[in-house]
Amino acid sequence: MDYHWIELCRVGDSSAIEHFVQTYQQDVYRLALSILDDSTEAEDATQDSLLAALRSLDSFRGVSSLTTWLYSITINICRTHLQRRKRRERLIKILGGILRIYHTRQPSVEELAIHNESNETLWKAIHNMDEKHRIPIVLRYYHDLSVAEIANILRIPEGTVHSRLNTARRLLHGVLKEGNS
């Protein structure tokens, strides 16, 4: 019954809600950032996810852990953001073709520093992976979650998680080998 204070959120206890937000917003933001790789979008997704979770606390039945449940919501919201982004990118591409609009942005100092420490080949391979494979990889190796936890969050069988991780690892292994040779 460690979740008793969640009950307080349900009945509108403002301290409990404040605590809920403070407790989980960092984790949610880190998850959103790792999926969206954009801090502004991750902030939006964090906001959306926490609000969505608070709205649906009634549907949290305690079968999975609260974190797992919250991660599921966050990932769903991030997927929506990814879809929006795809639509936006398509639109920009179309507009760019028609209006000759090109948007070039200079990387920030911070981004340049990250760039220097990063393995660009590996990152490109991760970045180009479809989300079906990228998200399990991120959950496994950034958020350090087990296959069972990932399966719970993504609501797919453990075997599927393992198979997707396998596919992703093989792909990344291949890319790295190619890069080395």
């Binding site: 204070w5 509108g12 809600i17 605590h19 393995n119 190796y141 991780l165």
Partner: protein, 1049 residues
């Protein structure tokens, strides 16, 4: 050798990476690796990969700072209002409410510009048959909402959810008769599955079959005279097709399959002479008169037959098969064939590689197709592993595309089940989806033509939390016709004139502000929706802030006359305020027949309601909608609309001062002008509204200093959120904190008892956790109190100013709460909950100090074993960190005050004050709630400084009841003789005045927020006294909240 192959070894290497190997597998792998160089090299490379990935991820993301303070503020501001808003039925409304602050500026510009520049079409009285008629009719479906499968109907606009069967048996598979009046379905209420039929309203239930074998899958013939069904043991794959008249007579078997060759009806030929069914991957037709069976399509072992339909004249069939291809994604083929089996033609191959990728696990995939009623289009539902899409194609297979730009079927608990149907006019579709909530399905409708024009269009959600929806079927209805002799409706653009004369107090409507009756509107047959608009422009009296003019009420009568045969569930009227907020329903749902051939029903929008939706000085629109469901029976309904005696009233309202007013001010956060959040003050009678900050930044959370001279608040005016102080008139603004960090005091009172110091939490740029500090009010001597990485809340000063208490998370288990005490110099930080027993946890964020500040009281939860829990009130002495068990309860204890436990059942059914001498008092706070079976109640209990309680209960029907109780519960009294009540009313905050005589109520709904003040001592003497609303109830984006009372000498 290990006994495993290289391939197996590779597989085990991957399983090892995911921690999925058992001991034997690990031994086998290790043995293999010892003897296999290439596998060992591969394993080493793969073992390295996780490290490289971890490095890559951490390099990229760990250096990025956490969410900015604006995110925190936005979430917390909105989140405080969400839990009780959970009871708002419409998710859209909820979003509108909570999103208000995000889109303040945008919305203000948009809404105001629209209201100030109304299009000509909205001025005066407008009439139109709305486009909603294109998707009229009932939608029937199966749901387990009430515990078992029943047949439900709901109107296509989301109203009138009705359980038609309401029987403990399983009632499934509703099928509309072609005229839309009857529903055939399957039920086991009499022992085994049989076919039943009932009227569209559930009446005249008739059992049609009584076989000992299960009878299932009823299909009406197009002429409505017959029903085909399957009879036999489905589990043993042994069913045959039967046909009967639609009254259950002349039942006869028309197929004679040997066992292991089931047949069930799928469709009729258009001439009602043949039943089509599938057998061995073929479409077969059987003549219902002689049982003659003829195959239509050639037998194929390649594709899988999905479904099929006969064209209107019955001579041609179109059908859909799923390609039996392993690679290249899945696809569907659309075929045409004549019913004599000739002229088979492949129209199109519909490939969907971009939709569901080929390698997804197959068991979640599915495709279903339904031809539109006019058979010009085919709608496809594709379910993939994680979502689903609706696609559409012309009947010849051309123009195959997604209806929406997003996966409309969403992912939900029943993702693999797809159920949908066309409206009978082919304009809209209804489908089940978990689009808005992954946890529960709802029904949605979507206008197909609109969606084809705008793929981003969102569907309309019809009902929420209806579980396990299946077999959705839309009632066949024909479009309503306007009677030929119906005159044009009278439109009088001057009927509700712009209001500019402030001299009237209350005006009789018909003289100046009435409107012409609308007479002689007739409709024949069908469902229709009829609406008109009124547009008015009340004004604020500009020179007098205590007076404003409002649309005070609207009353109309609808008189109706009916001719025609009896029809049930006839008419109703409902009314809305712009922007489309339904206020209520009136009218009548009884049968229309000769005995009730005419009548008169009034609609009265009350004064209170009208004021509530008033925006100061802005125009307002009313819409009245008349809905009728006549059915298809040649009926005529005509009606007139005319003003009631109250008609349209414009009132001059005065804000009344309290009899016994509080001498200090109330400071609060508000967004009144341009959606900008500023700090305001006003007198508790609603007068003297003053913007103290008037700054484009977010200025929020004002808290008065103990001497009532200064106000602390949070502002992001310099980029980061900093703590500022100002005088009570807004002068002498001083920034207390600085640096690249955000600073908050949140829900806590930051002031030390002597007003010399402030308590707050700080989070530096790039930091994830908050750190607690105290600082001198002049900004000097900042002392760090708690630095371990955890989140903090419920900060408070001890009454003697010597200690700080706060609640934090356990760093190892963030669901576990800890209670901490620290000296104000930062020394002796102690987690006093460490002293709790292993099976005990801090249970609440609420705690209290003893008057001398030497003890702290809190509630702990103790788990004994399954089903046995206890709640304990502890007193922790700060002298020696000793616990004293003050009270114990087997039901949840909300708080403890000087010997009295305040115990609250989770379901709020009972509140108990249990005193230390064993006596107790009880309150049943829900006894006045109208909808006692509602899903959830809002509850707030706030103690005054002397421990007395103001308790509020927010009923499921949005009524708010208030109770007062002394700290020991010896006096418990209901405060108001009638509830605070309005649509979506939610109470989100209660704040006692320092003299414990008044209380400020923070109330919001999906469209507005307001503050009220109640003189508690007066209300105890006279329960007819209602709280005074001190704000003008602006709709979104106006916002009022976080009140703080000014201490007075």
């Amino acid at each position: 050798m290990s006994g495993i192959t290289h391939k197996q070894a590779i597989r085990l290497i991957h399983r090892r990476l995911d921690g999925l190997l058992n001991g034997n597998q690990l031994l086998s792998l290790e043995e293999h690796l010892r003897s296999c160089d290439s596998c060992r090299a591969y394993a080493a490379e793969m073992d390295l990969l996780p490290t490289r990935l971890q490095n890559e991820f951490h390099t990229r993301w760990d250096k990025k700072p956490g969410p900015s303070q604006k995110v925190t503020e936005h979430v917390m501001t909105k989140a405080r209002r969400i839990p009780m808003a959970n009871r708002i039925a419409s998710g859209i409304k909820l979003f509108a409410g909570v999103a208000a602050l995000v889109a303040l500026g945008f919305l203000i510009n948009l809404v105001f510009s629209q209201l100030r520049n109304p299009s000509p079409a909205t001025i005066g009285i407008e009439t139109a048959i709305t486009s909603t008629q294109s998707n009229s009719g009932l939608i029937a479906f199966t749901s387990t909402q009430d515990g078992n499968s029943d047949i439900y109907t709901i109107y296509s606009d989301g109203r009138g959810l009705t359980n038609l069967t309401n029987n403990p048996a399983e009632d499934v598979t509703p099928v509309w008769s072609p005229d839309g009046k009857r529903i055939a379905f399957v039920s086991n209420r009499d022992g085994n599955d049989n076919i039943y039929v009932m009227n569209a309203d559930g009446s005249e239930l008739t059992r049609l079959t009584d076989d000992t074998a299960p009878d299932t899958v009823p299909v009406w013939s197009p002429d409505g005279t017959k029903i085909a069904y399957a009879s036999g043991d489905v589990k043993k794959n042994n069913t045959n097709i039967y046909v009967m008249d639609s009254n259950g007579q002349y039942r006869r078997q028309i197929t004679d399959h040997t066992p292991k060759a089931s047949a069930w009806p799928a469709a009729w030929s258009a001439d009602s002479q043949f039943v089509l069914f599938e057998g061995r991957q073929q479409i077969i037709q059987v003549n219902v008169n002689d049982g003659n069976v003829t195959p239509i399509t050639p037998q194929t072992n390649e594709d899988i037959l999905v479904n099929y339909v006969a064209a209107n004249d019955g001579s041609i069939l179109s059908y859909l098969t799923q390609c039996n291809e392993i690679s290249g994604g899945f696809c569907y083929r659309l075929w045409l064939i004549h019913r004599d089996g000739t002229q088979q033609e492949l129209l199109a191959t519909l490939k969907t590689p971009e939709l569901c990728e080929a390698k997804q696990t197959g068991y979640w995939m599915g495709a279903f197709a339904k031809w539109s009623p006019d058979q010009t289009k085919i709608l496809f539902a594709f379910t993939c592993e994680e979502n689903g899409w609706l696609y559409i194609a012309n009947a010849n297979g051309s123009d195959f595309k997604s209806l929406t730009s997003y996966p409309i079927l969403g992912n939900g608990p029943q993702n693999e089940v797809v159920t949908f149907d066309w409206s009978s006019d082919g304009q809209s579709v209804v489908f089940m989806s978990a689009l808005d909530s992954p946890e529960s399905e709802s029904l949605y409708t979507l206008n197909v033509n609109d969606a084809l024009q705008n793929p981003d269009l969102r569907p309309i959600q019809l009902n929420t939390s209806v579980s396990q929806i299946s077999s959705v079927v839309w009632q066949p209805v024909s479009a309503p016709k306007l009677a030929d002799n119906s005159p044009n409706l009278i439109v009088d653009p001057q009927s509700c004139r712009p209001f500019s004369d402030p001299s009237f107090d209350l005006r009789p409507p018909s003289q100046l502000y009435g409107y012409e009756p609308i007479r002689g509107t007739s409709f024949i047959d069908g469902d229709f929706s009829y609406e008109f608009w009124l547009y008015c422009d009340p004004s604020l009296k500009p020179d007098d802030p205590n007076h404003y003019s409002a649309i005070a009420g609207l009353g109309i009568y609808a008189s109706w006359q009916y001719t025609g045969p009896e029809v049930k569930g006839a008419s109703q009227y409902y009314y809305e305020f712009e922007p489309n907020v339904p206020l209520g329903t009136t009218g009548w749902n009884g049968p229309l027949n000769e005995a009730s051939a005419g009548g008169k029903f009034g609609i009265d929008i009350s004064e209170t309601t009208a004021q509530a939706y008033l925006q100061q000085g802005t125009p307002i629109q009313f819409r009245v909608i008349v809905d009728s469901h006549l059915g298809q029976n040649g009926a005529t309904l005509s009606f007139d609309l005319e003003p009631t005696e109250s008609g349209l009233r414009v009132a001059d309202l005065q804000v009344n001062p309290l009899n016994d007013s509080y001498q200090g001010l109330i400071a609060f956060t508000a967004a009144i002008e341009n959606g900008n959040l500023d700090i305001y003050t006003m007198h508790p009678d609603g007068s003297g509204l003053t913007n103290l900050t008037n700054n484009p930044a977010h200025d929020v959370n004002p808290v008065w200093s103990p001497d009532g001279k200064r106000i602390a608040f949070e502002s992001d005016r310099n980029g980061f959120t900093q703590i500022f102080l100002m005088n009570s008139d807004g002068s002498n603004v001083v920034q207390v904190t600085d640096g690249e960090a955000d600073h908050l005091f949140g829900n806590s009172n930051p002031w030390s008892p002597d007003g010399s110091q402030l308590l707050f939490a700080e989070r530096g740029l790039g930091e994830e956790k908050w750190v607690i500090y105290v600082i001198d009010a002049n900004g000097n001597s900042k002392i760090r109190l708690a630095s371990e990485p955890a989140n903090y809340s419920s900060l408070s000063w001890s009454p003697n100013g010597e200690y700080i208490a706060f609640v934090s998370n356990d760093p190892h288990n963030q669901e576990v709460l800890r209670m901490n005490i620290v000296d104000i110099d930062g020394k002796n930080l102690t987690d006093i909950t460490k002293l709790l027993n292993k099976n005990e946890r801090l249970d609440s964020f609420q705690y209290g100090w003893s008057h001398d500040g030497q003890s702290i009281f809190f509630i702990a939860y103790r788990h004994i074993d399954e089903g046995r829990d206890q709640w304990i009130a502890y007193e922790a002495s700060l002298d020696n960190n000793q616990f004293m068990e003050r009270a114990i309860s087997s039901t949840p204890m909300d708080s403890w005050w000087e010997g009295t436990s305040f115990i609250r059942e989770f379901d709020l059914s009972t509140l108990t004050w249990l005193r230390s001498n064993g006596t107790y008092s009880m309150l049943k706070p829900l006894e006045h709630c109208q909808s006692a079976n509602g899903p959830q109640y809002g509850f707030l209990a706030k103690r005054s400084s002397n421990g007395n309680l103001l308790i509020s209960v927010n009923c499921p029907n949005d009524d708010i009841w208030l109770y007062y109780a002394t700290s020991d519960g010896t006096l418990i009294k209901q405060l108001l003789d009638s509830p605070l009540s309005d649509e979506d009313f939610k109470l989100s905050g209660l704040v006692w005045s320092p003299d414990d005589k008044f209380i400020a109520l923070d109330i919001f709904s999906s469209n507005r927020t307001d503050m009220y003040v109640l003189n508690v001592s007066e209300a105890l003497a006279d329960p007819s006294i209602q709280p005074l609303r001190i704000t003008l109830g602006g709709g979104a984006p106006t916002y009022y909240g976080t009140p703080s009372w000014q201490p007075t000498p």
